[in-house]
C-alpha cells in the first residue's frame, strides 16, 4: 500500500516556512521574557526607594523591550495561523488536543500581556506608581504564561499523552486535560526554555552595560554598573537552573524520544555503560554511515556519562540508532520492536481504520468491532504506517549533534561568566572596585577588565546562537514526526502546491529579514543614545 504521494517538496517548503517563522520568533521572545524580569526588578527598586535613578533605568530597558516586543508579536501571529495554513491535516488529526492550549494562551496570557504593556509604556504619568509597577510585572507574567501554554502544546507533540484515537471522527481526542497541561515533559520544557530566555535577557543587559563601560560613558556609568549587577545575578541563577532543567529534559528525551537522544549523541550502536560524547569528528554536512560505522571518529567521551544521563544509573542501557531501527531488548526483558515491524503494524492500523469505517457505513457492527480491536492493538504505531523506508526515521544527525554541543558549551560558559561578574560585585573588585582604585589599575588588571567587557559584548550573539541551537535540537531531533510516533510530517501537511508555499516562504523571509535589520539598527541607535536623563 502506497500511502504517501504528497509532493515531497511541498513538505520541505512547509517545514522550511514553519522553521523560518519559529526561528525568527525565537529571536525576539527570549529577550522579551528576560528583559521583563530585569526591568521588573528595577522598577520594584524605584517603587521601594523612590529614587529617580531606578525609574530612568527601568524606562531605558523598557524602551529596548518595546522595540523588540512588536517583532515577537508579529511573528507569533504567523506561527499560530501556520498550523492551519500549512499543516491542515495535523490541525484536524490532533486539533481536539492541540487547539486548547493555544486558545487558553490567547484568553489567559495574550490579553494580559497586551493590556498591561500599553500601561507600562504610556502610563508612567497616567496611573499610580503601584498600578504601573503591577503592569510591568503583569506584562512579563503574561509573556511567561504564554510561553507555558505554547510549550505545553509543543511538549505534547514530542510526548503525546492524555488522548485517545476516535475512529468515528478519525482524530485523536483529549481524555485528560491535566495529563496534557502538566505532563512532566511539558514542565521540564517550560522550565528549561524560560530559564534560557532569562539568560538571553541577562546577557543582553550585561553586554550593553559592558559597552557603556568600555566606551567610558560617564553619563551612564551608574546605570551600566547597576544593570550589570542585576543582569549577572539573574543570569547566574538562570544559567544554573537551565543546566539542571536541561539535564532533566535530556532524561525525559531518553525515555520518550530515544532516537533524538541517539542523534544528539551520534550514538550508532548503544548498550550498557555508554559514555557521554564530549566531542567527535561528525561531518556537519552529510548524514553519517550509521549502519556501518561503529562510532563517530575521534570521539572523546566521559565514561558511563550517557548511561547516567539517560537512565540515572551507572550501567544503564541506552539504545543507539541501529538498535532502535533493528529492535532491542531492554535489561528488564521488554522488547522494543524493529522499525520494519512498527511500519507493518502501522499499516495494519491504517487498514483497520479504513475497514472499520467501511463496515460502519455498511452497518456491519461485528466487522466494525473486529477492526476496532485491530486498530487499538496497533495504534501505538499508527504513524509508522506512513513511513516508506526505515531510514526516514533517523533525523539528520549532524545538526542534532553539533547544535546540542553548541547549546551545552555556551551554557557552561555563561555560568562561568556570570559567576565571575557576581564575584566582582561581591568582592567589590575589577569594575566594581572604587574608582580611585580602578584608576591605579595597570597591566593585566586593566587589560583584564577590558577583556571581560569585550567578552560580555561578544556573548550577546552567542546567547542567541545557543538558544536557537536548543530549538534545533528539540525540533530537528523529532523528525520525521510532527507528533511522536503518531503522525509524520508527510501526513500532516496541507494540500497546497510547493510553489505556493515557496512563494510565501520568500515573502516572509524578505519581510522578517527587513524588519530585523531595521530593528537591530534602531536598537543600536537607542543604546548609543542611552537613557533620557
Amino acid at each position: 500500500m502506497n500511502l504517501l504521494t504528497i509532493d515531497p517538496q511541498a513538505i520541505d517548503w512547509a517545514r522550511a516556512q514553519f522553521a523560518l517563522t519559529a526561528i525568527y520568533h525565537w529571536l525576539f521572545v527570549p529577550l522579551t521574557l528576560g528583559l521583563a524580569v530585569i526591568m521588573g526588578i528595577m522598577e520594584t527598586c524605584y517603587y521601594r526607594t523612590g529614587r529617580q535613578f531606578w525609574r530612568t533605568a527601568a524606562r531605558f530597558w523598557q524602551r529596548l523591550f518595546g522595540i523588540n516586543f512588536a517583532m515577537g508579536v508579529a511573528t507569533g501571529l504567523i506561527l499560530e495561523f501556520e498550523f492551519g495554513t500549512n499543516w491542515s491535516n495535523y490541525s484536524w488529526f490532533v486539533g481536539d488536543i492541540f487547539g486548547a492550549p493555544l486558545a487558553i494562551e490567547g484568553i489567559v496570557a495574550f490579553f494580559m500581556e497586551s493590556t498591561f504593556v500599553a500601561v507600562m509604556y504610556f502610563g508612567w504619568d497616567k496611573v499610580s506608581r503601584g498600578f504601573h509597577l503591577a503592569s510591568t510585572w503583569l506584562t512579563g507574567l503574561g509573556a511567561t504564561i504564554s510561553a507555558w501554554w505554547i510549550l505545553v502544546a509543543n511538549a505534547w507533540m514530542q510526548n503525546p499523552v492524555g488522548c485517545e484515537f476516535n475512529p468515528n471522527t478519525v482524530r485523536n481526542e483529549m481524555v485528560s486535560f491535566l495529563d496534557v497541561a502538566l505532563s512532566p515533559f511539558a514542565v521540564d520544557k517550560f522550565c528549561h526554555t524560560i530559564t534560557s530566555a532569562w539568560i538571553i535577557g541577562a546577557v543582553f543587559v550585561v553586554g550593553v552595560s559592558a559597552w557603556y563601560l568600555l566606551k567610558k560613558r560617564e553619563d551612564v556609568r551608574e546605570l551600566a554598573l547597576e544593570s550589570m549587577k542585576i543582569g549577572a545575578i539573574v543570569g547566574l541563577c538562570a544559567s544554573v537552573l537551565a543546566a539542571i532543567t536541561g539535564d532533566e529534559s535530556a532524561y525525559r528525551v531518553a525515555k520518550v524520544q530515544p532516537m533524538k537522544l541517539a542523534a544528539m549523541e551520534a550514538l550508532y550502536n548503544g548498550g550498557e555503560d555508554v559514555s557521554l560524547t564530549g566531542i567527535a569528528a561528525v561531518n556537519p554536512f552529510s548524514q553519517p554511515d550509521y549502519e556501518n560505522e561503529k562510532e563517530a571518529p575521534l570521539r572523546i567521551a566521559v565514561p558511563n556519562g550517557l548511561s547516567i544521563l539517560a537512565t540515572r544509573t551507572l550501567h544503564g542501557y541506552v539504545p543507539g540508532v541501529n538498535n532502535i531501527l533493528n529492535g532491542y531488548t531492554r535489561p528488564d526483558g521488554t522488547v522494543e520492536p524493529s522499525a520494519e515491524e512498527k511500519m507493518e503494524r502501522g499499516r495494519m492500523a491504517i487498514s483497520a481504520l479504513a475497514a472499520y469505517r467501511k463496515a460502519k457505513t455498511e452497518g456491519n457492527e461485528a466487522e466494525a468491532a473486529a477492526q476496532v480491536k485491530v486498530l487499538q492493538d496497533n495504534f501505538k504505531y499508527f504513524g509508522y504506517g506512513y513511513i516508506k523506508d526505515k531510514s526516514e526515521l533517523v533525523p539528520y544527525i549532524p545538526i542534532n549533534f553539533w547544535a546540542f554541543r553548541v547549546m551545552v558549551g555556551f551554557g557552561c560558559l555563561f555560568i562561568l561568566f556570570f559567576a565571575i561578574i557576581c564575584y566582582m560585585v561581591w568582592k567589590k573588585q575589577g569594575i566594581y572596585a572604587p574608582l580611585h582604585i580602578q584608576e591605579k589599575f595597570t597591566g593585566w588588571k586593566a587589560k583584564g577588565m577590558n577583556w571581560l567587557l569585550i567578552l560580555a559584548i561578544i556573548l550577546i550573539p552567542c546567547a542567541y546562537i545557543a538558544s536557537e541551537s536548543g530549538w534545533l535540537v528539540a525540533e530537528f531531533g523529532r523528525q520525521p514526526w510532527t507528533i511522536q510516533d503518531m503522525l509524520p510530517v508527510g501526513a500532516s501537511v496541507s494540500d497546497i502546491s510547493s510553489g505556493a508555499v515557496a512563494t510565501t516562504f520568500f515573502i516572509f523571509l524578505f519581510l522578517f529579514t527587513a524588519m530585523l535589520c531595521v530593528e537591530i539598527n534602531i536598537m543600536l541607535k537607542q543604546i548609543k543614545k542611552g537613557p533620557e536623563l
Partner: protein
C-alpha cells in the same frame, strides 16, 4: 451540560470574539485616516499614538479568535486555513507589517524612513478589514472545498481537506457579495476609527474635521450594509438535519433563522439603532464625543447576531460550493465533548479578562491625548 449545548455555546463565543474583533478594528480604520485627518505632524502623531495604544488588543483578539476556533472547531481551522491559503496569507502579511509600523516609524535608526511604515498602516487598514470581512462573508456565500476524512487511509493523498480549485481562496474575492460585505466592514472600521479619535484625542481642529468626515463614511457603509443584509435575508442557505447530519439547501434560510430565533432579530434591531444613534448624534452635536461607545456596542451586537445566524438553528456555517455534504456545521466540525467542556471552564475567566481590560482602558484614557503630550513624551510613537 450536553454536547449540543457546548457546541452552541462555543459558536456563541467564537461569534462574540469575531464581533469584538470587528469593533477593535477601529485601529485599522483609524490608521487609514491618520494622514488625511491630521494636517500637520503634531496632529498626525496624536492620531498615531491614539491607535498605537490599542493595536495590541486588536492583534490579541485576532490571535485568540484563531486559537479559539482551532480549539472548538478544528475542522474549520483545517479546511479554511489550509484551503483558502492565499486569502489567509494576505491577511497575515498585512498584519505582520502593521505590528512593527508604530514602533519603528519615527525611531532614530529606522533604515527605511517613516513613509514605508505609514503605507503599511494604511494597507493594513484597508486590506485587513476588507479581507477579514470577505472571509466572514464566506460563512454565508460558501467556499470551494471538499472534506473527506477517509483520505487519511485511502492511499493516494492522506489530506482530508482540499480546495476544489487552484486559486486557494482568492476565488472568494471574485464573488461580488463577498466584496460588498468586505467593503462594508472597511467603511465601518473607518467610522469607528473616527469616533475613537473623537473620544481619545483632545484637539478641537481634529474633532471638527471628524464630524465632516463621518458623513462621507456613513453613507457608503449604510448602502453596502443594507444591501448585504437584504441579500442575506433572501438568499438560500445550507441546513442540516441534526439526527442524520445530512445537509440540504433551504430557500431564505437566514431569514427563517431570524424569525425562528426572534430574540436575535430584536438584538439586531437594537444593534443597528445604537450604531445609527452614535453616528447621528456625533454628527449633529458639537460637544458629543462618546459616540464610539454606542456605535461600538451596536457593532458588537450586530456582528454577533450575523455570526450566530450563520451557525445556529441547524445551519451549515461554512457551506461548500463544491460538495454539499462537505459543508461544515457546528455539529460535524467541533471538538469532542471533553475538550469543549474543559474549555467551557476556561471560558469562565473571560469576564475577569474583560474586567481588567476595561479597568486598564479607563485608567489610560482618563487623560486624553493632547498636543503637549506627544511633544513631550519620550515613549512617543
Amino acid at each position: 451540560m450536553t454536547y449540543e449545548f457546548l457546541q452552541q455555546y462555543w459558536w456563541f463565543l467564537i461569534s462574540l470574539l469575531g464581533a469584538l474583533l470587528v469593533f477593535l478594528m477601529f485601529v485599522q480604520g483609524g490608521n487609514t485616516l491618520i494622514y488625511t485627518l491630521g494636517v500637520n505632524e503634531t496632529e498626525q502623531r496624536m492620531l498615531l499614538n491614539s491607535t498605537g495604544r490599542k493595536w495590541e488588543l486588536t492583534f490579541t483578539t485576532l490571535v485568540t479568535f484563531g486559537g479559539a476556533f482551532f480549539a472548538s472547531f478544528p475542522l474549520f481551522y483545517s479546511t479554511s486555513f489550509g484551503g483558502a491559503y492565499w486569502l489567509w496569507m494576505l491577511i497575515l502579511f498585512t498584519f505582520v507589517v502593521q505590528a512593527v509600523s508604530y514602533e519603528f516609524q519615527h525611531k532614530r535608526g529606522n533604515l527605511v524612513g517613516a513613509r514605508p511604515f505609514q503605507w503599511c498602516l494604511i494597507l493594513n487598514g484597508i486590506f485587513g478589514p476588507l479581507l477579514i470581512g470577505g472571509a466572514v462573508a464566506t460563512f454565508f456565500e460558501g467556499s470551494n472545498f471538499i472534506v473527506s476524512k477517509m483520505n487519511l487511509t485511502d492511499g493516494m493523498q492522506p489530506v482530508i481537506s482540499s480546495w476544489a480549485n487552484a486559486s486557494h481562496g482568492l476565488d472568494a474575492l471574485l464573488c461580488p457579495w463577498v466584496l460588498v460585505l468586505g467593503f462594508a466592514v472597511v467603511f465601518l472600521t473607518r467610522i469607528l476609527g473616527l469616533l475613537y479619535f473623537m473620544n481619545n484625542v483632545e484637539d478641537e481642529n481634529i474633532r471638527s474635521r471628524i464630524s465632516v468626515r463621518l458623513v462621507g463614511q456613513t453613507i457608503p457603509f449604510l448602502i453596502l450594509f443594507v444591501a448585504y443584509v437584504v441579500h442575506l435575508m433572501l438568499k438560500d442557505g445550507y441546513a442540516y438535519d441534526p439526527a442524520s447530519g445530512i445537509i440540504s439547501i433551504v430557500p431564505m434560510k437566514y431569514f427563517h433563522n431570524l424569525v425562528e430565533l426572534w430574540p436575535l432579530a430584536i438584538l439586531l434591531v437594537i444593534g443597528v439603532i445604537l450604531v445609527l444613534y452614535g453616528i447621528i448624534k456625533t454628527i449633529i452635536s458639537k460637544t458629543y464625543i462618546k459616540g464610539i461607545w454606542p456605535v461600538g456596542i451596536g457593532t458588537v451586537i450586530t456582528v454577533l447576531v450575523l455570526l450566530l445566524l450563520a451557525g445556529w438553528n441547524n445551519t451549515a456555517y461554512y457551506p461548500s460550493t463544491a460538495d454539499l455534504q462537505s459543508s461544515l456545521t457546528i455539529q460535524n466540525s467541533s471538538s469532542s465533548e471533553f475538550t469543549l467542556r474543559t474549555m467551557f471552564y476556561v471560558s469562565l475567566l473571560i469576564p475577569f479578562v474583560l474586567g481588567y481590560i476595561v479597568y486598564a482602558w479607563r485608567a489610560m484614557d482618563k487623560k486624553k491625548i493632547t498636543p503637549e503630550e506627544v511633544q513631550q513624551d519620550e515613549h512617543l510613537y
